[in-house]
């Protein structure tokens, strides 16, 4: 099916195509990974920023609280009589966030505090074996903060111990308790993201975890699978108080998570806020970008496609219009070609007719000349007797007349054909003209014993026509009628009146004309039977001239005929309207 060469070409094309596809896929994956990396970095740094903000907020909050208590401890030279209760009240009410502020005297007994409800007045630390922190601040003479401590209310609290000294003498300590949940409620629970936020202290104890509250109070490392080294490493970093970010695989659900962490420095305490978000969030972010891009590309594609379709439709429409135009032009050219061809054929026919006309004219002119010349030469050279001489002279005169008629007919037809014929129309009485014409034919009709009847109504309206030419027409028609009517026949002239014209009819009961010959009867030199015509004499131009005269004045001429019955010529003349 394929030649070797073409098969190799196919392989080559397939290989090139595969290579191209692989390159595109590779580039696509690389670009995707790069995008993912960049977005992940951006995401992580943003998360870290948020993380720092949260940590900073908590740090400021906590340190402010400690500072307030320390200001009290430094302000008074000795324990006031109300045992700081008014101070505590003011601080408690003006600065929200304290759970309880208590004064413990140098003996380790709670002596005052605020708020006063559930205040353990009289509670002695030494008696209850809770004095290690008290003893520590007394010894070190500096503020000390405990980590998350389980309080009576089964909640985690943070205890800040501020020692009180007066002139180097230990006067007791002010204990302020801040519930960890107050801090987390204030700063962490408002963290509205798909991710989790958690808080650990420097011992790795979970102070807050938005993902699972049950872990609160537990050691983070105990609860996590020890095999999750990544997470443990991150936790270690947090315990060390550093700031950063990382990734780990979550157990159970198995998704990778991005984690950021930022420390909170609070005197001797160090907490760390961690935020985790699933990497899939980044993917979904990228995917949402891709989806948006896809939608954009899709819509653009649809627009481009629709635009292209529109352009194609428009072009094809134009093309169709153009094709139609070309087709119609071609048709026109074809039609004009056909017209030209038929015109050419007609011209050839006309040329042939012209040649024929010239030939006929030359014959018609030569014939009388021949008779005249022969006669004249005969008369010149012979002493013939008088009767023959008279015959010859008559013959010459007759042929001169014939020649004259012929020439005048030819001039007429030439004028008619070239449109140079001049009419001299005057108001004409038809009776007068018809009578004149009939009188003209008297000798001929008498000779053949043919009677001419004139049957015109007395009140026949006048016409406007060229008198001489009308006589020429009538004489010609009468001449024809007499010529083609046998001895003793009848010729009749009648008329019919119409709205604005009059029709004159010249009717004979002569030999008639065959139906198929009627069409050409008005043609030049058309003689139905030349021998008959010749015998009778005629140029063959009479009817052509008659038609030219009638039509030249706006009339029409027609003929009806039946062989052996007779012929009627009818022509119209315009009425003289007043």
């Amino acid at each position: 099916m394929f030649t070797r060469q073409s098969r190799w070409n196919l392989y080559l094309i397939a290989v090139v195509a595969i290579l191209l596809i692989a390159t595109i896929v590779f580039l696509g994956i690389r670009a995707n990974n790069e995008v993912k990396d960049i977005v992940e970095q951006q995401f992580t740094s943003q998360q870290l920023l948020l993380n720092q903000q949260i940590s900073k907020g908590i740090e400021e909050f906590l340190n402010e609280k400690v500072l307030l208590i320390e200001i009290i401890s430094k302000q008074e030279s000795q324990v006031p009589p109300d045992l700081f209760t008014s101070y505590f009240k003011t601080i408690y009410e003006e600065s929200s966030g304290f759970f309880s502020i208590q004064f413990i005297n140098e003996n380790g007994t709670v002596v005052s505090g605020y708020p006063e409800d559930d205040l353990p007045i009289g509670y002695n630390l030494y008696e209850n074996n809770q004095s290690w922190a008290f003893e520590r601040v007394q010894k070190r003479q500096e503020t000390y903060i405990t980590g998350g401590v389980q309080m009576f209310e089964e909640e985690l609290g943070s205890f800040t111990w501020v020692p009180l000294f007066h002139e180097g003498e230990f006067k007791g300590a002010i204990l302020s308790i801040i519930k960890v949940s107050d801090v987390t409620e204030r700063f962490l629970e408002s963290y509205g993201s798909s991710g989790h936020v958690y808080l650990v202290d420097k011992y790795g104890m979970i102070l807050y975890d938005s993902s699972n509250e049950l872990q609160i109070g537990n050691q983070y490392s105990d609860l996590k699978n020890e095999s999750n080294l990544q997470q443990i490493a991150i936790l270690q970093e947090q315990i060390n108080g550093t700031e950063g970010s990382g990734k780990y695989f979550e157990d159970g659900r198995g998704g990778e998570r991005i984690v950021t962490y930022s420390p909170i420095g609070w005197r001797n305490q160090r907490w760390s806020v961690g935020i985790t978000n699933p990497v899939s969030d980044v993917d979904s972010l990228i995917n949402s970008v891709y989806v948006k891009q896809g939608v954009f590309i899709g819509i653009s594609g649809i627009f481009i496609l629709a635009g292209s379709m529109w352009v194609i439709l428009l072009l094809s429409k134009w093309n169709k219009i153009l094709e139609e135009e070309v087709a119609s032009k071609t048709r026109e050219i074809k039609q004009s070609n056909e017209l030209l061809m038929s015109a050419n054929v007609k011209l050839k026919e006309l040329d042939l007719l012209k040649t024929e006309f010239v030939s006929i004219v030359s014959h018609e002119l030569r014939t009388p000349l021949t008779a005249m010349k022969t006669s004249a030469e005969f008369l010149k050279e012979d002493n013939c007797d008088s009767s023959v001489r008279l015959e010859m002279l008559d013959l010459i005169i007759r042929n001169i007349d014939r020649q004259t008629r012929m020439v005048s007919d030819l001039l007429d037809i030439s004028r008619i054909e070239s449109g140079r014929i001049k009419f001299n129309p005057v108001i004409t009485n038809l009776h007068e003209i018809v009578n004149l014409s009939v009188k003209n034919m008297d000798s001929l009709s008498e000779e053949k014993g043919i009677s001419i009847h004139v049957d015109l109504p007395k009140d026949l309206p006048h016409v406007r026509t060229d008198k001489d030419k009308l006589i020429q027409v009538l004489v010609n028609l009468l001449n024809n009628a007499i010529k083609f009517t046998p001895q003793g026949g009848n010729v009749e002239i009648s008329s019919a009146e119409f709205n604005d014209f009059i029709e004159i009819r010249v009717k004979d009961d002569g030999i008639g004309i065959a139906h198929d010959l009627l069409d050409n009867i008005f043609d030049k030199f058309y003689q139905i039977d030349s021998s008959t015509t010749r015998k009778i004499g005629g140029s063959g131009l009479g009817l052509a001239i008659t038609k030219g005269i009638i039509e030249g004045q706006g009339g029409t001429i027609r003929v009806e005929s039946m062989p052996d019955i007779g012929t009627t010529f009818m022509f119209t003349l315009g009425k003289q309207l007043h």
């Binding site: 014939t367 005969f378 012979d382 015959e391 010749r534």
Partner: protein, 169 residues
């Protein structure tokens, strides 16, 4: 028809040398003047010219001129009667017009040339057509000469004489 009449008349005269025209007419039951005409014709020793032309005036003029030259002139006005006349009169020469209705001069010439009895009769074509092609066609048809109308009478008579002399040779 006419040769038969001539034959009958000659037979009667042979049998009765003194027979009168009247008696011959009675025996053959023909008009007397016809017998007279036939007898004159039989005794005519002039050379006979047949003029064929549908133009009566041209024919008449030529006829008078040739009669004055002492030719016996017979005439025909169309092709068919020309052939009839040739057969009846056996002319010594035919002056044949070309343009005629029905059978034209070319056709008459062709028919005469194809008939062994008449093909020796010389033909002079007369025509108003002066085309060389017509002349050539005429000669090819077997015409002995070709004269264009209007002709010089003197020339035509000379040509007739020449044709007749050539025929006698």
């Amino acid at each position: 028809m006419k040769p038969q009449i001539d034959k009958d008349i000659l037979e009667l005269i042979e049998q009765q040398p003194n027979i009168t025209n009247k008696e011959i007419a009675r025996i053959l039951s023909l008009p007397e003047n016809m017998i007279k005409e036939r007898l004159e014709n039989l005794s005519d020793t002039r050379q006979k010219v047949l003029i064929v032309d549908d133009e009566l005036d041209a024919l008449t003029a030529l006829k008078r001129a040739l009669e004055a030259e002492n030719y016996n002139v017979v005439e025909a006005a169309d092709g068919l009667s020309a052939i009839e006349k040739v057969k009846a009169e056996k002319p010594d020469v035919v002056l044949l017009d070309l343009m005629m209705p029905e059978i034209d001069g070319f056709e008459v010439c062709k028919r005469l040339r194809s008939d062994p009895l008449y093909k020796h009769i010389p033909i002079i074509m007369l025509t108003a057509k002066g085309d060389i092609s017509d002349k050539i066609e005429g000669i090819e048809m077997g015409a002995d000469d070709y004269v264009t109308k209007p002709f010089n009478l003197h020339e035509l008579k000379a040509r007739i004489k020449m044709v007749l002399r050539r025929a006698q040779d």
